[in-house]
């Protein structure tokens, strides 16, 4: 054993920088979760602060916020799962049937939004929605003879805007997995179907879609595992942190951020953070166990 460890000494050395980073970035913060049960006092530090038991959680769940952020996080994720899956499968099916060189160009363009930072996405959205200069108010609504809308103050539009922006950003990314599954299907099946007189439409509904089903189920399960997490940039940058919109844009991630850095409400923030970590962990674990049952190769662990 000793000899083997010595033989592998250089390999341990190679692993060291990465492990050190994981230790600092991912493991050192873990004991800090205990803060959720304490009343934070900057002078006393995390471990010196007074223990208050479940009080922070009692306060958190007594507020309306706890319900709103949980509802928003889960409902947006459900909407994303349904709409993004439909769009991604649709685009993947069309791309897979493309024979011309345009296929590469289409894929390139549809994937492009995925590469753009959320800050710039917020500029793009602002270009359309700005109440002073926005394209919608100035060009579209005025052409229709309608009154301009103060988009960043009206919350009824935002669930749709956020779902749309998210779909715009991730469809190109999501369809890659489905596309590679379709391209992995034996072409012989399609050829014999075509000889039997199957139309393209029939081939898609009777061959492609059923063959995609396992991948769709897998991706959905993994997304459900992450249902307690949200894209902070999407919910913080795109609505531009507007207070008037909080009831439809506040998610657990934005709540934790605001508690920590804007409101200085460390107790609530850390309670909400632990709530997310623990339930998120259970969901990811559960989803993975299911995935492993269905298809061990796709499981995360």
């Amino acid at each position: 054993m000793k000899k083997r460890i010595r033989r592998y000494f250089p390999v341990y050395l190679m692993a060291l920088p990465g492990l050190l980073y994981l230790f600092i970035n991912n493991y050192m913060p873990l004991p800090g979760l205990v803060l959720a049960f304490k009343k934070f006092n900057a002078q006393k530090g995390i471990f010196g602060s007074d223990f208050v038991g479940w009080k922070n959680f009692k306060y958190l769940f007594a507020t309306k916020d706890a319900f709103v952020i949980t509802r928003n996080t889960i409902l947006y994720n459900l909407a994303f799962i349904v709409i993004n899956t439909i769009l991604a499968v649709f685009v993947a099916v069309l791309l897979a049937e493309m024979t011309s060189r345009m296929k590469k160009i289409y894929q390139c363009l549809i994937l492009l939004p995925y590469m753009i930072s959320m800050v710039i996405v917020s500029y793009l959205v602002f270009g359309y929605l700005s109440s002073d200069n926005g394209f919608f108010n100035h060009t579209i609504l005025s052409a229709l003879g309608k009154e301009p809308i103060n988009w960043y103050m009206e919350k009824k539009y935002w669930p749709f805007i956020l779902v749309f922006v998210n779909a715009w950003k991730v469809t190109g990314y999501n369809c890659i997995i489905y596309l590679s599954t379709i391209l992995g299907i034996d072409r012989g099946i399609y050829e014999s179907a075509a000889i039997d007189g199957c139309s393209k439409w029939k081939q898609i509904t009777k061959i492609t879609i059923p063959m995609l089903k396992p991948t769709v189920i897998m991706m959905t399960l993994l997304a459900v595992g992450r249902i307690f997490y949200s894209d902070f940039g999407l919910f913080y940058q795109v609505p531009q942190n507007q207070g008037a919109l909080f009831s439809v844009t506040n998610t657990i991630d934005t709540y934790v951020y605001r508690g920590l850095l804007e409101l200085g409400n460390m107790s609530m923030s850390s309670a909400a953070g632990l709530y997310q970590s623990v339930i998120g962990f259970i969901l990811i674990l559960g989803a993975n166990l299911l995935v492993r049952k269905l298809d061990p190769d796709s499981a995360l662990f």
Partner: protein, 296 residues
């Protein structure tokens, strides 16, 4: 065959529409950056402005202001970050791919668990500010969250396991090469596709990141990356538009906010490197996502 033809036409139309939809917001940004500022104030951002102007770009490049400075920060951050990230990710992934290594299971678990459970923002923020004191330093942009992630490590590890035959490694050991020589002379040259993929993921992560700067850079605005600068500008605009009384308080801010066309020019410059590099590296990106399978 006829239905085939019809289907192709249908696909072309639909995909062209999707592509157009993906591009339209960026076209609006690009056109606005070349629009005369008074024209924007008069008739808003438009695809067909009546008056064009290159003033926004002249302004950015002639005043030598914070935009170019932030651009340099972004470039340095992306280059340094990508090199570091690629190095430590590759080394750790290679170690984990060693089947005979004692403790391999535990180390793999350490990596996988980091993907499943994390302390979240609050404890991480406290560790980085109180223990490591990286607030308001370049390290704050470089280190938190972005340097390495379990996903890339596992992606690379599975590439090493499946694509580098053990016989080749064994042969180099027999030839007397040590672990480092093997790593640099055999493993690296055989792994170019996955190295390119992970470098790409890391590079995009650094170029696009705004959160580290937003959270940890509170005073040293000279350390702002382009994303942070854009972010700060948008906040100032919102702050001023929220109430007119803010305007008196923020007289300094008012003059600091560039005009509508300049802002769009800055955002355009922000995605320019991506748009230039992206078509050449798209294949590596797609391959990486496919390799990672549904794990992404």
């Amino acid at each position: 065959m006829r239905s085939d033809k019809k289907f192709q036409i249908f696909s072309h139309i639909v995909l062209a529409l999707f592509s157009l939809l993906a591009l339209l917001p960026m076209i609006l940004m690009l056109v606005s950056s070349f629009t005369d500022n008074n024209e924007i104030i008069k008739s808003g951002y438009s695809y067909l402005p009546k008056k064009w102007s290159v003033y926004a770009y002249e302004y950015i490049f002639s005043t030598g202001n914070s935009v170019l400075h932030a651009y340099v920060i972004s470039v340095v951050l992306t280059v340094v970050g990508t090199c570091l990230a690629l190095s430590i990710t590759t080394l750790l992934a290679y170690a984990l791919s060693k089947k005979g290594m004692p403790g391999r299971g535990i180390l793999t678990f350490v990596v996988v668990f980091s993907m499943l459970f994390n302390g979240g923002l609050v404890p991480t923020y406290i560790i980085y500010t109180n223990v490591f004191s990286i607030k308001n330093s370049f390290l704050a942009l470089l280190i938190p969250g972005l340097l390495m992630n379990g996903f890339n490590v596992m992606l690379m590890k599975s590439y090493f396991v499946s694509s580098i035959p053990e016989e080749i490694l064994d042969a180099t050991y027999i030839d007397g090469a040590n672990e480092w020589q093997t790593f640099f002379k055999v493993v690296i040259p055989l792994s170019k596709p996955i190295l390119a993929t992970v470098a790409l993921f890391a590079g995009i992560g650094y170029w696009n990141d705004w959160m580290n700067g937003y959270i940890y850079i509170t005073k040293r605005t000279d350390l702002y990356s382009l994303q942070n600068l854009l972010n700060r500008m948008m906040q100032n605009i919102q702050y001023l538009s929220q109430s007119s009384s803010n305007i008196q308080n923020a007289n300094v801010g008012l003059s600091a906010i560039p005009m509508a066309s300049v802002r769009m020019a800055m955002a355009t410059l922000g995605i320019l490197p991506i748009v230039i590099i992206y078509p050449f590296v798209q294949n590596y990106f797609v391959k990486g996502i496919t390799l990672g399978g549904v794990k992404g």
